[in-house]
């Protein structure tokens, strides 16, 4: 039992999310907030980037998420896991942003949204030939567009289950819907994605200008 004294006291310096949030709420503890940030900024950025289809927009939304959490710390009511609350805040901000973009007709129905250049992938440069690299980028882009074609309620399930690896039960808590509904949305989403990807294979969208100009340069050298 004396062991747990040490762990209890040392855990003050590496806190659980719930402890950190308590410190932020009760003491405006900036160190605790920084700890939450370090732990969660990656996942939240990824969620927002995939929900909006745009990496930079994702970063902005993630920043807004944490700002909101800190701004509303006094009225926070601990109910369940902090991460559930965090995912929910981020998702709601994504929905708001998507609705705003929709009103300004910035969303295209074929999924061609967001900045292709910003979606550059992390590939070791020496690994693939330029053609293979291009093929990989094109495949990523068609997947991105397919996901962006999904309705937002289906997209969120795909992003949370497949990309952020939450269990169906956790997703149900975040979205405040039954677990069965989460799974049926997932099934529907996968079926739709299958159709979209099949269509994309039949009508390949041309690669953007950037890769093509690389090929032109090569020709000029010759």
């Amino acid at each position: 039992m004396s062991n747990s004294v040490v762990t209890a006291l040392t855990s003050l310096f590496s806190m659980t999310d719930e402890q950190a949030m308590w410190r932020i709420q009760a003491h405006d503890d900036a160190e605790a907030f920084a700890q939450l940030l370090r732990r969660w900024e990656g996942p939240i950025q990824r969620l927002c980037a995939r929900m909006t289809g745009d990496v930079h927009r994702g970063q902005d939304l993630a920043q807004e998420t944490f700002a909101r959490i800190y701004a509303r710390r006094k009225t926070y009511e601990p109910r369940g896991k902090f991460s559930t609350f965090l995912w929910r805040v981020a998702l709601n901000l994504c929905y708001d942003e998507l609705r705003r973009l929709n009103r300004r007709s910035e969303i295209r129905l074929d999924g061609e949204n967001g900045d292709f250049d910003g979606q550059c992938l992390e590939l070791a440069d020496g690994d693939l030939s330029p053609d293979a690299k291009l093929a990989h980028e094109e495949r990523a882009e068609s997947v991105r567009r397919a996901v962006m074609r999904l309705p937002e309620t289906y997209r969120s399930v795909i992003v949370l289950r497949h990309y952020e690896n939450l269990k169906f039960r956790e997703i149900a808590e975040v979205l405040e819907i039954p677990e069965g509904t989460v799974k049926s949305r997932m099934a529907e989403a996968l079926s739709q994605l299958h159709r979209f990807l099949a269509q994309a294979m039949e009508n390949p969208t041309p690669a953007r200008v950037k890769p093509q100009s690389r090929r032109l340069e090569e020709n000029l050298v010759l």
């Binding site: 039992m1 004396s2 747990s4 004294v5 040490v6 209890a8 006291l9 003050l12 310096f13 003491h27 503890d29 900036a30 160190e31 907030f33 920084a34 940030l37 900024e41 990656g42 950025q45 990824r46 980037a49 995939r50 990496v55 970063q59 993630a62 920043q63 944490f66 979606q119 550059c120 992938l121 992390e122 990989h136 495949r139 990523a140 997947v143 991105r144 996901v147 795909i158 289950r161 497949h162 990309y163 269990k167 169906f168 069965g180 799974k183 049926s184 997932m186 099934a187 996968l190 079926s191 994605l193 299958h194 990807l197």
Partner: protein, 228 residues
Amino acid sequence: MNHPTREEWMSYLYDEISRPAKAAFKTHLQNCPTCQKSLDEWRGVVQNLDAWALPKGRFKMAFVQPALKWAMAALFALGLGYGIGRFSVPSLDAATLRAGIENSLRPSLENEIRARLGRELADEVRSMVAASEASLVANLESLSAKSAAGSIEQTQVILSAYAAALKQQQTQTTQLAGALETLRKDTERMALLTAYGFQRNEQQLVQLATYNEPAASFPGKSGSQPNP
């Protein structure tokens, strides 16, 4: 044939089912081309999803990285009860006994630590200030003795020596801050050890009060012997 539902296939696809259920679904797949086709389609999508990777780097957020741990130390000294409060209660008697001990000892412990911290800090500050003052005065005296000779160059030399003395005082102030930091750490350590020892004493008292107390982790024993 009884097909699994789409929802159940999702659990299967993402491995959120028991091993027996998984085996049963696999068997069904072998006998049901419809379900196999659906599953193949879904699996194809799942594999494609992985192609959409995001740039690796985490982008630092522009929040201020905060300062330090005076607040932490203060909370530490005051929050000894935090760790103690997390322990589970073995039995009702022990609980009341512990509550009694805690209530009487914790405040006096807190006060003692705070008083001690205050006293030692004050002493340390006083002695360091006195020491640096004394050395600065000594420097100034020797400088003024030298300046009695009085040419311009000598005055310049004296002024630069004065600047050096000021710098030395700054160094001493920095050292003072370092000493305070060390003192704070020692105090933290002391608080930790005190809480540690406090907890052990408390445990022994509890064990004496309730004869069943020693850990039931020795399955061989059929209850412990009363040990007056």
